[in-house]
């Protein structure tokens, strides 16, 4: 299958819920980036995180293998630095080959709530 999707995506509505309720890791509140690479080449992905009151942080480098999906919890990113919980952020995702990007949030602070949306393709 050929590479579907786009090389640049944006997610403006990020905010990892600070608190969690229930057994972890299953019930940990988190923001999740879902990356789909349908093409024959590995995708070299870099993420930039934008904030309200400070300069963007990045790149967060990731690889999505050819013809694979990769789900990345924003909570887990530490390179180059941990994304703060409970703080508004937006993401720009760039890839050297077309990929499809979806965004997901699990919030268990006051009972379980799931929200999901497609990221915005920009090219």
């Amino acid at each position: 299958m050929k590479a579907l999707g786009h090389r640049t995506w944006a997610v403006p509505g990020g905010r990892v819920p600070e608190r969690s309720t229930g057994a972890e890791p299953e019930q940990t509140s988190h923001d999740l980036l879902c990356l789909l690479n349908t093409g024959p080449k590995d995708a070299a992905v870099s993420i930039w995180v934008f904030y309200e009151h400070r300069e963007p942080v990045g790149p967060y480098p990731l690889t999505v293998a050819a013809r694979r999906v990769r789900h990345v919890r924003l909570n887990d990113l530490i390179d180059p630095e941990a994304v703060p919980l409970g703080m508004e952020y937006g993401l720009v995702v760039r890839s050297d080959v077309p990929v499809v990007v979806q965004f997901w949030r699990q919030d268990t602070e006051r009972g379980k709530a799931i929200a999901t949306t497609a990221a915005v393709p920009l090219d």
Partner: protein, 405 residues
Amino acid sequence: MSMAGRSALHPNRGKITNWSGSLTFRPRYLERPRNEEELCAVVRAAARKGLKVRPVAARHSSSPIIATDDVAVSAEHFTGLIEHDTEERWATVGAGTSLEEAGRALREVGLATHNLGDVNVQTVTGAVSTCTHGSGRRLTNLATMLIGGRMVTADGDAIELEHTPDMLHAARGSMGTLGIFTQVKLRLLPRYRLRRREWCTTLRECIDRIEELSEGSRNFDLYWYPRSDRVKLRTLDPPGEGPESIPGARLVLDKEGWSDEVLSRQRVLRFDEMEYAMPIGRGMECFQEVRERIMERHRRTVGWRVLYRFVAADDAYLSTAHGRDTVTISLHQNNTLDFAGYFDDIEPIFRTHGGRPHWAKKHGLGAEELALLYPKWRAFQRVRRRMDPDGLFLSPPMERLLEGP
């Protein structure tokens, strides 16, 4: 021209920054002696001017033990394998040799260190002088390898390290306060291969098996991830030994190599670190308290893992494992983020459990508190004061650490 005919000290305008970037200082003189004679001249010149002298090694330390406003000395020209005896299992290396370089050179002559830490960018002397360690129930820290060497003393003389138990117990973990090493003689093992495996699981799956797992592998440690309660277990064993599987854990890495190739891993991402060493019987209780505190107060800003390791007891006077089998717990924080609030909040928990801080990492203790943690504190001080009666190697941070306010 003889060294007496020109100044032995070289003015310095640049600043020195440690590996993580959290420590910066600007010594008046930065010296890179090419041989013992030059180093002797540096020490004598500093003594004449009333200046303090500190060795700077690989600058991996994030505590201020390397910091000085006066004379910083690099051992970068004292490197390589100097002498060895494979049958008798010892070797002498230059003081500025990195652990990585030493590992390669020793392997070529059939030898190896008994353990290594998570990174190997430090110099051998830096590791030996700060009780740097890896992990393993029956493995002592790297300072215990020291069985001799040469150093330039506060008098400006180059000497062989005295081969007395008192001197060796003092020299292991002495942080450059007895003299400046030019060579270190190490007790070693025949080179050996290890199978490194890494396993992913959750804390609740493995928490009751930590004792059994740590007994079941030559090297064992665990990383706990505060933002998920997940865990990575690392086991290293001679090929054919160690656990076949770990219930509830998924094998994510499996590779075999010579010990120096697989014990350490390359770390590009920079971080600051606090580590305390507790009696082994207090380790898990302390870890659980640390975990609860992080979950409650610090997950917002802390994504880095907590490292839980084992070190066997030894008898070096300032060893963090002196007289007791030990568990170490390390906190990490990205070097671009604030670490002080996090480390300061956790440190009292470590202290409640009888913890001793790693000499080369962040901590808030001074001589008064440290003296109570080390049964041989006075024995060390006797040797140090005999070797350096005027405190040439006691920079202000070292004075606070060893003599108090």
